[in-house]
């Protein structure tokens, strides 16, 4: 096993070195592309190699160390890498999908003047994410976590000349920062409680410390809550979800990377990685499930009424991440990671296809200005159809297997309310995917494409289509993440409803499309609700009202910093005193003389009055 350690070390380092080379060199565009794609593709090959070796094994561990990072007193942090079935799945997704997105980008971004900067960020992004999933301690994970946040900020604001993009980047950075801060506090708490930050040790020690006496479980809940806050921020879940739709400001491949392979999956991974810790806090797990459920309904409903192509996909990502949280919450970590994998395939496919559309249509984002593109762009249309089908979880696509598994796990865990909500979410998901596909590709032609997707873009689309169709192979190695659940006891309704519902939803969408109900203004009495849902349930305005505005008002009120008043008083007093005393310092000898005599007189007067007192 040890002979693979150096190979493992290469996994996060290759993209990092490539990013550094790109940063400090002046290469022609072709070489930039070759370097950037080559590094990530070779990582993808390495992870494929690992997959072949450890095919569907559940109990292998491969470690590698890149040296010591911090070594003070009790705190010893290594640059340690840790490969087990979970991180193997993750690096496969990250590097595989990442490599395809890189390949696609060579076509998509080739005209851009800042190709070098773009690929530097992209490689750094992948490297940070690989560090995150391979870290053997929480601090190194946090390093990757922050690196991912930084790169997302840089990439969302990639076209920095436009102020709107910068604002979106700031928003994403600040919103995730809230979660990151909570997570950092969680790390401190874990270290003070357990004395270690090594992930495996934490799982063991947590069980030793906290499960013995149940009184201490509040501390475990607190740690889990703080980690959850971090995950919620990164994965765009309910209280902190509204940065994700704005993150569409970046180039489309970046959106694909953020939504599919990196960034938002980090939160899922964090909880899955610490699943044993979370099992000590069942309340927090239930909270995870609740958050997931509400988020999936919110995302799905908001996606239903959007008109911007990329915003639809963004809200659908929020909703699908909600499914993963739901699965994590009911203790089905393996299903969550499985859905993460299939979601990475079909969401990357959808985004890349959308990117190809936008590329061909002069950066047009409004779906109602498209239409009838099926014959003009067959490759894009077919791959988009496959992506939508997988999103709607039609039978035998990759999305079907993972979503069915999650629904089965939810019902097996006994939360029937959550199950109904999830099924409703699935219905809405199928509805809006069908709406999206129909509106964009069928009907009247309004805009004709003026550019064809390049070969590299088509190649990436084809590979991802194949993966979305046939990628539903459950990674059996994740068994350890999942408690044994009895999935056989499903009733007929529970078994068949999730399969039938997407078809009903698609039929509904087809009927509405045929009768031209899409794109019409909504009736007056629905106007308010429509606006509310379209703005993502008005969370932006809510935060604006309860946090940003009061803060701005406070800033306005305290513009001169009232604590400064005190210091200004001191300053003014000394200034006044200075003014008084500088009267004596006017450079005139006679004035000095007079003040000398004056003080002599005063001193004598004091002396005399003292004498008279006696």
């Amino acid at each position: 096993m040890t002979e693979y350690a150096s190979l493992l070390a290469l996994v996060p380092l290759l993209p990092l070195f490539s990013a550094l080379i790109l940063l400090f060199s002046k290469l022609p565009k072709l070489w930039i592309s070759i370097f950037a794609v080559g590094s990530v593709a070779s990582v993808a090959l390495i992870s494929l190699f690992f997959n072949v070796i450890f095919w569907q094994q559940s109990d292998f561990v491969l470690t590698a160390s890149l040296g010591t990072w911090i070594n003070i007193a009790q705190l010893k942090i290594n640059f340690g890498l840790y490969l087990d079935p979970l991180s193997l799945v993750m690096i496969t997704i990250v590097s595989g999908v990442g490599a395809l997105i890189h390949l696609y980008s060579t076509g998509f971004m080739y005209q851009d003047n800042d190709l070098k900067r773009y690929f530097t960020y992209l490689n750094l992004f992948v490297s940070a994410m690989l560090f995150l999933v391979l870290a053997d301690n929480l601090l190194l994970l946090y390093l990757g976590w922050e690196g991912v946040g930084l790169c997302s900020y840089l990439l969302i604001g990639f076209w920095y000349q436009d102020r709107k993009n910068n604002l979106a980047a700031n928003k994403a950075f600040l919103m995730t920062r809230i979660g990151d801060t909570a997570m950092a506090i969680g790390l401190f708490l874990l270290f003070t409680q357990l004395g270690t930050l090594d992930i495996q040790e934490i799982q063991i020690k947590a069980h030793a410390v906290w499960s013995l006496n149940n009184d201490n479980n509040t501390m475990a809940s607190l740690c889990c809550l703080l980690l959850l806050a971090g995950a919620v921020g990164k994965s765009a879940q309910l209280p902190l979800q509204n940065w994700l739709p704005d993150a569409m400001a970046g180039p489309t491949p970046v959106s694909a990377l953020i939504h599919a392979a990196t960034m938002v999956t980090a939160g899922i991974y964090l909880i899955a990685r610490n699943s044993q810790l979370f099992q000590l806090a069942p309340d927090v797990l239930y909270l995870v499930a609740l958050i997931g459920t509400f988020t999936l309904l919110l995302g799905a409903s908001a996606a239903m009424v959007q008109t911007d192509l990329k915003r639809i996909l963004a809200y659908s990502t929020i909703s699908q991440l909600g499914y993963m949280f739901l699965a994590l919450g009911v203790g089905a970590g393996a299903s969550a990671v499985f859905h993460l994998m299939t979601h990475a395939f079909f969401k990357a496919l959808l985004f890349l296809a959308a990117g190809a559309l936008i590329y061909s249509l002069h950066h047009e984002h409004n779906i109602f200005k498209m239409g009838g593109l099926l014959k003009k762009l067959p490759v894009v249309a077919v791959s988009f159809a496959i992506g939508c089908a997988a999103l709607a979880s039609l039978p035998f696509t990759a999305g079907f297997f993972s979503k069915e598994l999650i629904l089965a796990q939810v019902i097996a865990s006994g939360h029937s309310g959550l199950w109904w909500a999830a099924v409703l979410g699935a219905f809405i998901t199928a509805f809006y995917s069908a709406r999206l596909f129909f509106v964009v590709f069928l009907g009247q032609t309004q805009l004709s494409p003026n550019a064809r997707p390049t070969k590299s873009m088509s190649l990436a689309l084809v590979i991802l289509s194949v993966l979305s169709l046939f990628g539903g192979i459950h990674p059996e190695g994740l068994k350890s993440l999942m408690p044994q659940l009895d999935t056989d006891g499903l009733s007929t309704l529970q078994h068949w409803l999730p399969i039938i519902l997407p078809f009903i939803a698609i039929s509904l969408a087809w009927w509405l499309f045929k009768t031209k109900r899409f794109g019409k203004p909504v009736p007056a009495f629905m106007q308010g609700v429509h606006q509310l849902v379209k703005s993502g349930w008005a969370f932006d305005r809510l935060y604006q009202t309860i946090i940003v505005s009061p803060f701005n008002t406070l800033c306005q009120v305290n513009k001169d910093d009232f604590i400064d008043l005190f210091y200004r008083l001191i300053e003014k007093t000394s200034g006044r005193l200075h003014m008084v005393f500088s009267k004596f310092q006017n450079g005139q000898l006679r004035r000095y003389n007079a003040s000398l005599i004056l003080f002599c007189i005063l001193a004598f007067a004091w002396f005399i009055s003292g004498e008279l007192m006696l």
């Binding site: 007079a594 005599i597 004056l598 002599c600 007189i601 004598f604 007067a605 002396f607 005399i608 004498e611 008279l612 006696l614």
Partner: protein, 186 residues
Amino acid sequence: MLDNMLNTIFIITAAIILISALLTITAHNVVHALLYLVITMLAVSLIFFILGASFAAALQIIIYAGAIMVLFIFVTMMLHQGEKSLAQERHLFHFSTSITALFLSSMLFFELIFMLFLTPTDSANSRVTAPSSAIITVKDIGTQLYGPYSLLVVISALMLLSALITAIHISKSPVTSEIKTKADNL
């Protein structure tokens, strides 16, 4: 009889001193001021005689009224420009501009008087015995000066030497190099 006469002489001398001192500091013409100053010095030496310090009286006439006054007069001769200086001086010193000075000095005067004569003092310190009539000869002073007070002689010598060097230095240094306008500094 002798005491009475001495007292009368003292009062007359003191009156001369004060009047001529007042005239000295209020005169506009430097030459006049110096003449009044000479009168003051001579009267002071008379006071010294009355107090029995004949050596001091002699020195007062020789050095103050002689040497120092000559210095002053030399300088005055160099600087005095007759009527122009007088006009300048009238402009510089006017009684109405010196009310503050008058107030301050009179305050100090009354305070000092108060402290010396009106504050209660303990009897041991205020005992003033009748002075002996023994004459202090120059020989006594010389013995004292080169005996217990020899350090004082050295200090005086050093002081005179440093004053000499300073005076030479100040008057020798060339005038033009002293004035530096801003343009030169730039």
